[in-house]
Symmetry: C2
Subunit: 456 residues, 2 copies
């Protein structure tokens, strides 16, 4: 393998790192539907949103036209602490699979948050600090977003209150500790510290929680505490904007070596990683400059794209947040305690939902036992213990590479390896002991949850 022209890992120079984020919405013919005020059912105005988000982020959230937003110098300096991230040629995985396909992955796990989440955390914390705020609140599922936000806040000197989905809190005892190193205040959700938490606990006693519940609690605290705003690690347009740094770096690295992907694959919970990775490629597709197959991979336990409905829904379980038009299982849907905590969200980014509705991308759902099998195979040949979330993309990439083996096609497959699984060893242990099960919602489960939604 030594003589290959393309290195195992492509690192850009600092000078090649993106200076602007790319706003995919600017190139979309059908723009994503606006957020609606839950009271009036009218599009949320900038003024209304500014009670929840800081001002600069409101601008980014609402702007469907400006293609590029300059990345402030302080954020670019912070990015240099852990970026550029490597674009890896998976030579060893290709050899193991004996596939003619060429497999690449953009690895975002080489930072202490263990994932790509830090890309948006530092941006959101920066704008909050700049506005003179005291602190931010948020939710976290797998814990990566909470850790990322804790790191960013600690760096900038902001308070950070994290509501962590209870089943993740219990599955990942050490995540809380990492957040503490970074000075964050972490509460398992649902909790009795908020009205909405107490209400959910009453209705679903013993629940393991969900991202939707935790969002409700974090928003309640942010909007009722002086000097605080709420920040979110996925779903929102602004998050996809910040995460475009993943795709932009990937595109620059691929262009540098003359590589053109045929298929682009990413796991999808709220859409932050997939949306970021595909941005510049989807931009070319939208502008008719190139074509790519783009595949979202979601867990069979929480299949928003593949079994949800495209409609307006609340982003949170407590129904206190604005409504977003998206593929959704219904905001009262509480997925089983699957180990891919970061993918347990009932809805999906409005941007990705619109692209999916327009037939510009595909989606598949996969079972967690298959995901862990792929994760372990990957770890053994590529030397990285992947996060369960990321392993959804690994499985789909492996399946595509095996198809190439059958057909003999030399396709170029690109996938997003969002992070590492160092805090997911309880899950790996369950997998080894044969105790991992696949809990897949019935059509009736989904129907019931959707039926609870108010008609919009």
């Amino acid at each position: 393998m030594s003589e290959n022209k393309i290195p195992y890992k492509i690192y850009l120079e600092e000078s090649e790192m993106p200076k602007s984020w790319y706003n995919l919405r600017a190139d979309m013919k059908n723009k994503p539907a606006p957020l609606l005020n839950p009271g009036t059912l009218q599009p949320m105005t900038a003024e209304e949103l500014s009670g929840v988000f800081c001002q600069e982020l409101v601008k980014q959230e609402l702007d469907n036209d400006t293609p590029f937003f300059e990345i402030p110098a302080e954020i670019r300096d912070f990015y240099k602490m852990y970026r550029p991230s490597p674009l890896v040629r998976a030579y060893c995985l290709e050899e193991k699979l004996q596939t003619p396909a060429k497999i690449y992955y953009k690895f975002e796990g080489n930072n202490t948050s263990g994932s790509h989440k830090l890309n948006s955390a530092i941006a959101q914390a920066y704008y909050a600090k700049n506005q003179g705020l005291k602190g931010v609140t948020t939710e976290t599922g797998a814990g990566q977003w909470g850790t990322a936000l804790s790191m960013a806040c600690s760096y900038l000197g902001l308070d950070c209150k994290v509501y962590m989905v209870k089943c993740s809190y219990e599955q990942k005892p050490f995540r809380r500790e990492v957040m503490k190193v970074y000075g964050a205040d972490v509460t398992p959700s649902p909790s009795d510290t908020t009205n909405v938490g107490r209400k959910i606990l009453e209705e679903f006693p013993g629940t393991g929680g969900s991202l939707g519940c935790a969002i409700s609690e974090a928003v309640e605290v942010a909007t009722s505490t002086e000097g605080y705003r709420y920040v979110l690690g996925s779903v929102l347009n602004q998050v996809l904007l910040h995460q475009s740094v993943i795709g932009l770096e990937t595109k620059t690295a691929m262009d540098k070596y003359g590589i053109k992907p045929d298929v682009i694959i990413g796991c999808a919970g709220g859409g932050s990683n997939l949306g970021g990775l595909i941005s510049p490629f989807m931009g070319e597709k939208l502008r008719g400059e190139a074509d790519y197959r783009i595949i979202a991979v979601e867990p069979a336990s929480c299949p928003s794209f593949t079994r949800g409905e495209y409609r307006y829904d609340f982003c949170d379980t407590g129904m206190v947040c604005p409504l977003a038009k998206m593929y959704t299982l219904g905001s009262s849907f509480i997925p089983s305690a699957d180990h891919a905590g970061g993918l347990r969200f009932h809805g999906m980014s409005s941007v990705l939902s619109q692209l999916y509705a327009d037939g510009l991308m595909e989606a598949v759902s996969v079972k967690q036992t298959d995901v862990f099998k792929a994760a372990e195979e990957f770890a053994r040949v590529e030397g990285i213990l992947p996060a369960p979330e990321s392993s959804h993309a690994i499985l789909a990439a492996v399946n595509e590479a095996l198809k190439c083996k059958e057909t003999g096609e030399e396709k170029t497959i690109l996938f997003g390896l969002t992070g590492t699984g160092y805090f997911d060893l309880v899950a790996y242990e369950k997998f080894h002991m044969g105790e991992m099960v696949n809990t897949i919602p019935t059509d009736e489960d989904i129907r019931k949850s959707l039926d609870r939604l108010p008609k919009v």
Copy 2:
């Protein structure tokens, strides 16, 4: 900070990676003392050693003259999976400390073993495989070496039996699980699976174990099982040879940017990381081409350099291994259950011991509560949660940088950041709860342990 010419992270190109390991011994005027046969007290011959180690490694162990050993292509390919590792300019730490010093660290934690240990693990596993062996046995303290060896063995298809120091096994419940992902067989040591383990358990019931005990057990199994050899993650000459890749990459990166370190700092347990990092720099010093201050940092709980004696001693507690001349606390010394598991070894590399005896390097010992304080400060500004072992070097580097602040000197400080602390959260938690204590051996503890040694 954006305009600095030196990037935050220097990554070499693959083509700039070392093609040979550098054998520091070739440039030493006073060679390290040879290993002695515990029965005859005569220097171990190649034939005697080949019952314990594979043949190529025996050659590397005994060769004090050949300056370079070519790195086989397969090992170089494996290195490309996770190397080159970044040389990081600690801009954020410098700013936090308000020091005129320039701080650099070579970060070896971006791989699933979480440390530099993989550099030697793949080499040792490769030669074992090449010799047609079935498997290898080893000990592990903090768990990094065991994980690294599991990864290397899994990659090459070798069996891997790991004896893990019991207190680390208990402090780091998930390390075992990572090794299982890589198919290793892990036993807490001392155990009742070996004669020497049973003997130690009888003499010290309830002991948390030590690297010395675990080595004895692993050697017993290797020498009594067909097709097995023993491999060791530190102390040995061959390990320092493989780890020279750290220093060689660092030197190439520094030369590329015209950087010359004044002070080079590394933590020291058995010496693998420090010996590797300093290799090419010490080579220059030995050849009179340059001068550097070189500082070994060890835990106050296990202070081989600073409070041990330079003499022949066993590398293991069970006294079944060859004797090495080294700074030692006595092979029956069992350090307190300090959280820097990788530094809890009673002795020290013979190479480093000779260099220290010759006044070519310095040593300091530090307390673990101070170490964790430095670790946390570092994590907050540099974004990497460091391993407790590595944090010994951080503390010493910070202390040097603070001295520069007092004197106004613009020294260039280089330290080795050997790994990440993702599996050390129990320790971080204890630190946060104020439950961490510093257990420092008394002079009598050390005296007693040294007095138990046979006179050589």
